[in-house]
Symmetry: C2
Subunit: 317 residues, 2 copies
């Protein structure tokens, strides 16, 4: 099976997206940006054995490769539109490709993003790179650099679940409702597009949680040249993670675990205004900390200073 | 050296490009498409040991990764604008990264394309994926599918040189002017942006030559559901390739070698009109064949049927 056959058999689909002038199969894709919108461009690579266990189901790998890119667009307040896929494969295994494409297009359909092209190559390991475009109204984009002293720090959903799920996948935990829920939060993360667009109207800065809440908040604060603190007792933990482990362990997953793809944002708006903004969305947002002058991120535990040893993931370290 | 340090030290540059609203360093890039233009999106992966010899100089690998993407945009008649880089590295070697970035930005500057973001990951082998955007006036885009019976087939430059250069690199040929010229055509291919935009006004279809002239013309004809023939004696061979090998071998490199990144296009215009269109450009265009009804590509040698055994490169075969 050569690369043309792979594209034809697994990745060429009829598109009903009017903004796609030329899709899969030419030298490049041609798309028509909406007038008066800025273009968001993100690119994320997943390497088997580094970003996910080699045992991960191909459909989940496909889903995840799309969702993590959608999450980056959500973190800027955008709406995903088109994407390309660069797939480096060890071999052209039709069963694997069929499963991968099923998960890939499940996410594409869920988030309303159209595959417009790509490149398929051979290599010694599986490398999945998805590049995605989104659109945003100029001025509505959320950057990492807009946080100001006095702003409050919010997070969506319940961070820590995905990392707990990964540890369950890598261990030998039994299958039960709680474990299965957490595992699913790792393999099928939810990109927060709708809530990202909603809070873009009131947020001063935002980032999505890929490397761990602590590390990602540090990045946001650093980009904004401000300091911050978070109160660990305010971390929103899921009922599932709270049932399967002690609070201390759950909090550690929430702070350092990564792979949540929740959004963290800062805002000068009141909590009432924030809750009104996100009313009707299917995920809660929780006030977890404050922005101040200075630099660095501190933690408190019930108001008292708490020294957190960050082990957030960084490549090459 | 972690991924943030790699970005900061080697890939973050001040941009003077007004269309870049947010560049390297946020969740994604934000750019502002020109009004009334369509967006071209291409993505191309180079795997060390598959797409280039592992011994290739890092600066040449960087240059090449940009140029091959620019070539895809040129083949659609577009102008390159922005790009992202997904780099999977075995290790963070500062010397390698410094050289890579030098070649990468040499090409970026030459073709006027701005790096706006990327992703750096660790893996077992070097995988370089560049994703690039370009812009084109709606209606001016050259697709592969527009060739019609009666059109003539043209090619820019002198195909075969790059493949001859690769064979020189892999062999033990001496360094001399001709060999060095051919080798350079492989390591530093020229993307034909200006001539692509010029011929877009008169071409019915176009493709860039990455897999070999014969294979790539076959793709264009297949996408256009037409047949074609090329006259081997009309293949434009460079003085350099003609001096270092016999005509038969040079013609074989030209037909099957690949990596030329020349443009092949079809047109209903007269040769006089074509030559007037490309006058003043630094590369010649040569009429090498004809489009007809039917399917498939045939060769002639001085007008007589010639059976060419195509061995154009296809991944996974």
């Amino acid at each position: 099976m050569d690369e043309f056959e792979i594209i034809r058999q697994f990745f060429a689909r009829e598109s009903s997206n009017d903004s796609v002038i030329t899709g899969v199969g030419d030298d490049g894709a041609v798309t028509r940006p909406a007038g008066g919108r800025d273009l968001i461009t993100v690119i994320d690579t997943l390497v088997a054995g580094i970003h996910f266990p080699p045992s991960l189901d191909a459909a989940d790998a496909g889903y995840r490769a799309v969702a993590v890119n959608v999450s980056d667009i959500a973190a800027m307040g955008g709406r995903p539109t088109w994407m390309t896929l660069a797939l480096t494969l060890r071999e052209a295994d039709p069963d694997w490709l069929r499963c991968f494409a099923r998960g890939f297009f499940a996410a594409a359909d869920e988030y309303g993003v159209t595959l417009t092209g790509g490149d398929t190559t051979r290599g010694r390991e599986l490398v999945i790179t998805v590049q995605m475009n989104g659109e945003v109204v100029p001025g509505a984009v959320m950057m990492r650099s807009g946080a100001r002293a006095g702003d409050r720090i919010y997070v969506t959903g319940t961070p820590g679940d995905a990392a707990a799920g990964l540890s369950i996948m890598q261990g030998s935990a039994e299958s039960n409702d709680d474990n299965d829920y957490l595992l699913r939060r790792f393999v099928r993360p939810s990109a927060r597009v709708a809530i990202g667009r909603a809070v873009a109207t009131v947020a001063s800065a935002a980032i999505d949680l890929s490397d761990g809440l602590f590390t990602d908040i540090e990045k946001l604060l650093s980009a904004s040249t401000v300091a911050g603190s978070i109160e660990l007792k305010h971390l929103p933990l899921s009922p599932q993670i709270s049932r399967v482990m002690a609070w201390e362990e759950a909090a550690r997953f929430a702070l350092g675990g990564g792979d949540d793809y929740e959004l963290c944002f800062t805002t000068a708006a009141t909590d009432d205004a924030i809750q009104a903004t996100v009313a009707g969305h299917d995920v809660a947002v929780t006030h977890i900390g404050e922005v101040s002058d200075g630099q660095g991120l501190n933690c408190t535990l019930e108001g008292k200073p708490y020294t957190y040893q960050n082990d957030g993931y960084r490549h090459f370290n």
